[in-house]
């Protein structure tokens, strides 16, 4: 009995211990809440480059090559991954162009995030989500397998489809959300990979083949059936601007994208191969965007 009343007394009396605990609680709860709420929105300010492209084109291979400097074996990806890479010493980032060579900030390698996405048809939303909700996105590398782009090839149709959809999202970004609008101009590199294979088309031919195939895609898209969503719910977003590139143009050309502040370049190279990788031009493309 005595102990119970002791306890009660101890609980109710203004003890210094109780005071300390109360103060601690009062201070720590807001801190705790803050950390919980704001943890997710950490500062991720590293510039990022997005890798996108159909399956088996060599995205993950390129990612590992850029990260490690050596080739690693890869398999079909199921999930996106972002990796911190640094420019090789020979390349200076575009933003550092006017710095003196002895500027200490130049010594430190410029770092950036490289984001790999799965290319499988069912998993492309990962890549497209990254596009519609970009975090400090500096450029887009669309990797194609130059060895599967010969006329009439299934690979060509798949690649052109994906490229068409990607460019269309970029074209429509003005109508989209704020984050996407903030991307004033977005450079796109079409990296024609696997140049080491003798069936691979040279970069110039990759460009023209893709252009003519995209011409077909946009024509057939414009003639295709409506989506089931349209007309069934009122919130159907604008269906007018689904024509990629210049309206009324006969053929699609990549330069037509410049009207929408999207510059497209096609550069060849290879990630693996007998004589080692050939990726210097891709590196310098990246370094100019940082």
């Amino acid at each position: 009995m005595a102990s119970t009343s002791d306890w009660a007394q101890a609980l109710l009396s203004p003890s210094p211990l109780g005071l300390v605990i109360a103060i601690l609680l009062a201070i720590s709860i807001p801190l705790f809440l803050h950390s919980v709420v704001f943890r997710a929105s950490g500062l991720t300010t590293l510039p990022s480059i997005l890798l996108i492209g159909p399956s088996d084109s060599g995205k993950t291979s390129l990612l590992t090559l850029f990260e490690r400097g050596t080739n690693a074996s890869t398999h079909t990806s199921q999930a996106p991954i972002s990796v911190e890479c640094s420019l090789p010493v020979s390349n200076t980032a575009g933003s550092d162009k006017y710095r003196s060579a002895h500027d200490p900030t130049n010594q430190a390698h410029k770092k950036f995030l490289l984001i790999d996405t799965p290319g499988h048809g069912k998993l492309r939303h990962h890549a497209l989500d990254n596009l519609t909700n970009p975090q400090n996105l500096k450029g887009l590398i669309f990797i194609v397998d130059a060895a599967t782009l010969s006329a009439g090839d299934e690979g060509l149709r798949q690649t052109a489809d994906y490229l068409h959809d990607t460019l269309l999202i970029l074209q429509k970004r003005m109508a989209g959300n704020k984050a996407l609008k903030a991307l004033k101009d977005l450079p796109v590199l079409i990296a024609a990979n696997k140049m080491d294979l003798f069936t691979a088309l040279p970069a110039a031919l990759v460009k023209s083949t893709l252009e003519s195939e995209i011409t077909k895609v946009r024509v057939s898209r414009s003639k295709g059936l409506l989506d089931s969503g349209i007309g069934m719910d009122e919130g159907a977003d604008d269906e007018k601007d689904d024509w990629l590139g210049e309206v009324g143009s006969q053929d699609f050309k990549f330069y037509q994208m410049e009207e929408f502040d999207v510059t497209v370049e096609v550069i060849g190279g290879n990630v693996t191969g007998g004589e080692g990788p050939t990726v210097e031009k891709w590196w310098s493309w990246i370094s100019e965007r940082l």
């Binding site: 919980v36 088996d56 089931s228």
Partner: protein, 662 residues
């Protein structure tokens, strides 16, 4: 033997691999696309936190069999590849043990963000497991057990003991028992024939048999307390004749003063070094360790002289495996404690609101039931609904909820992405471009021009002819020359009905220059022959597209279904589309499945047309049921009575309808 073993991440990077023969990467790729992405061979696995490889159905591809297991939270996949001809009894065990060991050793590294690099020196551990498991599997072979049986035990008894017991794997038995048992079995069998390390002077068995006392620091006390000399000698005697060669070279090996200078440690070193690495001493051992730089305390300890001694690899592996086992038992035990469960229930309630809760099967069960009912209400077939929910549950167990995220919200999100994944086609479904590629191929591609053949199948009365006409209308609007073929030579009136459709189409599109003809041979003819003739005719007359209407048939009508195979062979359609009614419920799964398999082994459906979608409102579950049963995409949905009421499927639209709650 194994062909290769790979440890890779879901992002596609191979972390560690070992191949015994070179195999094409496409084998593992096909496992990933078919099992993980497209879920073609559905994992009939139980819903467990970490599924043992034994529960995952083996995947067969191109003469190879693949055994696999995953670690969800780390995004790891473990795959063993071997020739299908072989029967490797220990393969499941290997995959499971490797998973446990790998996660234990490198789990921390795997959690690092923004990198794909994992420093791993896993070869030794892997080889150790291979050796161990091959040995136990040899032990189980009755002949070898008999010959090596200790004299004290009556020979007929021994095989039975071994047959009754699970393979005496050290790591998986409880501690006290395991050491005895292990020693026993290790000393019994262990003819190293056919093991990859047969040439090595020492085998783990040999090492154990020597039974020398280790310096206290390098071994755990439990080992010391359990010196195995007794067992070892009894086994040794009985089988020593069989392997006199084995122990001798081992005994002969000595380290120079430069090296360890500690005889007892020779075996220890031997494990850390590759088979041919017995040339140097301490320095090399140190180097290898330095490279690994993994918490040295777990690897070994300093001897009195300050020399670094590698802890026995076997010991380390065993302790990893046993502690993983113990953890499993532990977690099972604690959850039954009354007080513990009470506290965790309160904590669980709290976290359910605030988030940050690690989901368990119990948390999910009730909510999943709700989701299942919801799907059933949307007219998803029970089978599909159950499997969808199972998939989501499997995905969510062990996952932490986000801040202020309830379990229900989490399930909703997971189900949405799961539905989206199912309904999204693997490749784009641009019918017009496919037709172009066939009917007017690019001059560069050396392909001959021919008509594109589409045939429509389905059960009676679902609207085959109507939907065929809708497709015809769509094609005519795009200026294709279309031949409609009446292959329903069975039901009276079918040809006439089609003739009416064709006449309508002609009228509707004549002004825009549409060209459409009907090809018919009346009733009673064999449909396959009619179709074949029609295609030949279309090629002569330079039609772009041939649309073939077939007789409706019950999917469980054996006779009629079997004629479809011949039909597919004769007509060689580029696309076989099945029309399914949005109204049909549970039957949809069986319908889709039977039609999908009716065309023989090398042909299947190419797409569905789901008709009458306008009549069901939100209950578009049939879409999911059919796709889920067959992995065939939905090409079109019919949304009305007019020729123009045909739509592409919008996945977003379908998912929204399926998850909307009213």
């Amino acid at each position: 033997m194994l062909d290769s073993f790979e440890i890779l991440t879901t992002s596609g990077v191979v972390l560690w691999s070992k191949s015994y023969t070179s195999i094409s990467p496409s084998i593992v790729n096909s496992l990933i696309t078919n099992v993980f992405i497209e879920e073609r061979t559905l994992p009939g696995a139980g819903i467990a936190d970490d599924i043992s490889a034994a529960n995952n159905p083996p995947y067969k591809h191109d003469l190879h069999t693949l055994k696999w297991t995953t670690v969800k939270e780390l995004g790891l996949i473990f795959v063993a590849v071997y020739r299908s001809l072989l029967h490797l009894s220990w393969i499941d065990k290997l995959v499971d043990n490797i998973r446990t060991i790998f996660v234990d050793l490198y789990g921390d590294q795997l959690k690092k963000p923004h990198t794909t690099l994992v420093e791993c020196h896993f070869d030794e551990y892997f080889d150790q497991q291979i050796r161990e498991l091959e040995k136990t599997s040899l032990n189980q072979d009755p002949r070898s057990t008999e010959s090596a049986a200790p004299d004290e035990v009556a020979p007929p008894l021994t095989p039975k003991v071994f047959a009754d017991e699970p393979p005496p794997l050290p790591g998986l038995l409880s501690r006290g028992q395991s050491n005895n048992n292990y020693r026993d079995s290790a000393s019994n069998g262990s003819t190293p024939v056919g093991t990859p390390d047969a040439s090595r002077p020492t085998t783990p068995a040999g090492h154990l048999l020597t039974g020398k006392a280790k310096p206290g620091g390098s071994r755990r006390s439990r080992k010391a307390a359990n010196t195995p000399t007794v067992y070892a000698s009894s086994g040794d005697e009985s089988s020593s004749k069989k392997r006199p060669m084995k122990n001798e070279p081992k005994k002969g090996r000595k380290w120079t003063a430069e090296g360890m200078a500690d005889e007892d440690d020779d075996t220890v070193l031997d494990y850390s070094l590759p088979a041919n690495g017995a040339t140097s001493g301490e320095d090399e051992a140190k180097d290898r360790l330095g490279a690994a730089e993994i918490d040295q305390a777990t690897w070994g300890s300093k001897t009195g002289k300050g020399q670094f001694v590698l802890k026995d690899l076997d010991d380390q592996v065993n302790s990893i495996l046993t502690s993983a086992d113990a953890k499993k038992v532990d977690s099972a035990a604690t959850s039954t404690g009354l007080f513990g469960s009470g506290m965790s229930a309160i904590g669980g309630l709290f976290r359910n609101v605030v988030g940050g809760k690690t989901l368990t099967k119990e948390d999910l069960d009730k909510a999943m039931k709700g989701m299942e009912d919801h799907l059933l209400k949307k007219n998803v077939a029970r089978e599909a609904a159950i499997r969808l929910c199972e998939g989501v549950e499997r995905e969510l167990i062990g996952v932490k909820t986000g801040n202020f995220e309830s379990v229900q919200a989490k399930i909703q999100v997971a189900m949405e992405s799961s539905l989206r994944k199912i309904l999204t086609p693997t490749s784009s479904l641009d019918l017009l471009r496919e037709i172009d590629a066939i009917s007017s191929p690019s001059p560069l591609s050396l392909q001959k021009k021919r008509p594109y053949v589409i045939s429509i199948v389905g059960v009676n009365g679902v609207g085959k002819s109507t939907n065929l006409s809708k497709i015809g209308f769509f094609l005519l609007q795009n200026k294709y020359k279309v031949l409609v073929v009446a292959c329903d030579t069975f039901r009276s009136g079918a040809v006439e009905q089609l003739a009416v459709h064709v006449r309508n189409l002609k009228e509707l599109t004549a002004r825009e220059g549409g060209q459409v003809e009907l090809y018919q041979k009346g009733y009673g003819k064999d449909a396959a022959n009619v179709a074949k003739d029609a295609v030949t005719f279309a090629a002569q007359e330079e039609f772009d597209v041939v649309l073939i209407d077939t007789a409706g048939r019950r999917h469980n009508d054996q006779r009629l279904m079997s004629s479809l195979e011949k039909f597919a062979k004769f007509a060689q359609p580029d696309k076989i589309l099945m029309v399914g009614e949005a109204l049909v419920g549970t039957d949809s799964v069986a319908q889709a499945r039977n039609f999908n398999t009716a065309f023989g082994t090398d042909r299947s459906l190419d797409g569905f047309i789901i008709s009458k979608c306008d009549t069901v409102g939100d209950m578009v579950g049939t879409l999911v049921s059919m796709v889920h049963a067959t992995n065939v995409p939905v090409l079109f949905v019919g949304v009305g009575q007019h020729y123009s009421d045909l739509r592409n499927l919008s996945v977003k639209w379908a998912v929204e309808k399926l998850l909307s709650s009213n």
